[in-house]
Symmetry: C2
Subunit: 393 residues, 2 copies
């Protein structure tokens, strides 16, 4: 298969109550990404878009076709992907294959979501459809309670008393907000303390408000191109796909043997590492799926950065911070940057691309000399997508 | 790219009010397809599933992951596609690429929908989200009215007086029900006359009840494999992908220059013909998207089977029937077989596969000696997918 690179990025401000429709949000970031890549709408041969709640939120399905034609990429092949929070990453991984195989040379991939017009109760209920809708949701398994369960299992399995685990979880959120302060696209620009986290209201014990990411409106996308197109366009800083992985799980109750680990993540990251010939030690910077603080801890272990039961302590010690063993979520992560569901994968990909281009200096969040980056997205109970990128071919 | 074939089919009974959930429906047809192919769940490396209204209808997103794990295809990559009625075809085309590229050897693709628990008003309103939701739906553009508009434009453009066009449209529906009688999986087993069509109640003039397909519950899927896998498994009658095409359009108002033709179909079919090196004259049997009788007429022209303005007369003369120039929708089509939105592409692919295997003799609807077949699916205002298959490599 051919070498494939990210050659342009677009990322909207993440916010509450965007005045734009999904089609408009997606169009805006598409123009930004095309401008960065130095291409025109007619150069785009296909679009791959993650979007989850467009029909519920604004009565609009098929965003992928309407935005493509609105920006002037007329009549291109346009597909929408749904894998809950991993929808955007799923779309990007799929787009990679259509270029790697030689079928297309230049495509656009990413995602968009308007998720804040819901009341939080409706949002939680609606989003719970991306767990098992027949048995588990009626038993109370909305996502806050799923991650509350995982936190209890984690505490028990690794012998970390809940008060200690909660302090570790708080460290994750505190770090996220610290970096969100520096990200101009972030939804929140507000530092929080460990005390703020531990005093915030209880959502589903032990998950408190500041252990949970918000819902967000936003869009993010990348332009993906073949090596030939990279050369033709004279792209100065292409960021190359090195490894891709995707796996899924069944309903939560079918995963009991592996919980609180998420088996699909371990398999997906094995695919990414194996394809790239890289190991966790090679990763210079990572954006991972911190929908809840405990989710970050589980993710960092599943990706192989830390031994099981030790990632929480790693956050406390600064091992996941700038200068640490593996800098994680220097964007602010879902917790502070925000979580526009279908757009989150696109946002992670944009963040990693910009880190590997060395563009974060001006925002004071550049990992010096970062060459290899990883993104990781969890969708509902079921889907895990991760990818490894490098600024060297 | 590698040669890729369909090696197994699964097709549920299409019906009203299925007692099964989407996950259960999908699991059932997956087992049928695996049995046909002689493979086990562990052989499936990925699933590609079209599903549109699962969240609205039964509060279940991410059907693709849950069914895969329920059937024992644990932790495989599972993606859901949405392109309105073309979702299943989009999924199959995408699955083709992952095998053709060499990444996977055996995957499952198709779709599922439960669309009949809606009242027809809610169904029409909900499905209208797959047109433009902000400007055109509030102006009354649900899909019956979109196709009513196309019928008026067609009548005007080609100088066919509306009463004459309505008789041609009636011929499409009559033929569909004639063949639906012979298809054991069809939702309707009821012959209708031209008079029945023209006396049926008016939905959106000139579209009457019998010019419109129903909503349906059902699932359909295929197993897709590389040439190596076909050999290893000793598949006796593989059906090979020869050409694929996909294109999309913007909102209806942006298409005014081309209406009543659908530009995306013409582009998608050019892709399919060009890739396969075939022409419309080479096609022995076709399943096309007859969501409304006028849609069939427009589709048969867009695929190149007839000159513009002449396809309605072709149906009247029997040119689209068994023994005619191009036998179309010998399954009963969406009109009589039914239209489970996300599953329709899978159903078309199963029908073409079985025709090219010569398996329709027992149902008295085999096109004798059929070697090359085409499927064509229209999704909302926006997406067109078609594919050409052959029983010769």
């Amino acid at each position: 298969m051919r070498n494939v690179a990210v050659i342009g990025c677009g990322h909207s401000k993440f916010c509450f109550n965007s005045p734009l429709t999904s089609v408009e949000l997606m169009s805006e970031v598409a123009f930004d990404a095309m401008n960065e890549a130095g291409i025109k709408p007619k150069d785009i041969q296909a679009t791959y878009i993650g979007n989850v709640l467009g029909d519920f939120e604004e009565g609009q399905g098929m965003v992928q076709s309407f935005f493509a034609n609105d920006i002037g990429a007329f009549n291109v092949a346009s597909s929408r992907f749904e894998g809950a929070c991993a929808s955007g990453s799923m779309a990007i991984r799929d787009a990679y294959m259509w270029v790697a195989s030689g079928y297309y040379d230049i495509v656009l991939a990413g995602g968009v979501e308007r998720a804040t017009a819901f009341s939080s109760a409706l949002g939680t209920r609606t989003f719970a459809m991306f767990g098992d809708g027949h048995y588990e949701f009626p038993s109370g398994f909305t996502f806050p309670s799923v991650f509350a369960l995982l936190a209890h299992l984690y505490s028990d399995k690794y012998g970390i008393p809940l008060p200690q685990l909660k302090e570790q979880m708080a460290a994750v959120s505190v770090q996220a907000h610290k970096w969100g302060m520096k990200n101009p696209k972030a939804q929140f620009h507000k530092e929080i303390s460990s005390e703020d986290v531990l005093k915030s209201f209880m959502v589903a014990s032990p998950i408190q408000l500041h252990d949970a990411c918000p819902f967000t409106d936003g869009a993010a996308c990348v332009i993906i191109a073949s090596e030939d197109a990279v050369k033709k366009l004279g792209i100065k800083k292409p960021v190359w796909f090195k490894g891709i992985g995707q796996a899924s799980s069944g309903k939560l109750s079918s995963q009991y043997k592996f919980l609180p680990r998420l088996r699909a993540r371990e398999l997906a990251s094995q695919q990414s590492y194996s394809m790239s010939g890289l190991t966790p030690k090679d990763i210079d910077v990572c954006e991972l799926h911190d929908c809840f603080s405990i989710a970050s801890i589980i993710a960092a272990e599943g990706l192989g950065f830390f031994d099981y039961g030790t990632a929480g302590e790693a956050w406390v010690k600064g091992d996941c911070d700038m200068g640490g063993k593996i800098p994680i979520n220097l964007s602010g992560g879902l917790k502070s940057k925000g979580h526009p569901i279908g757009a989150t994968g696109g946002s992670q990909c944009v963040e990693i691309t910009r880190q590997l281009r060395g563009e974060m200096v001006s925002e004071d969040r550049q990992v010096a000399g970062a060459k290899i980056g990883m993104m990781d997205t969890l969708g509902g109970d079921g889907v895990l997508v991760n990818m490894i990128f490098s600024n060297e071919k």
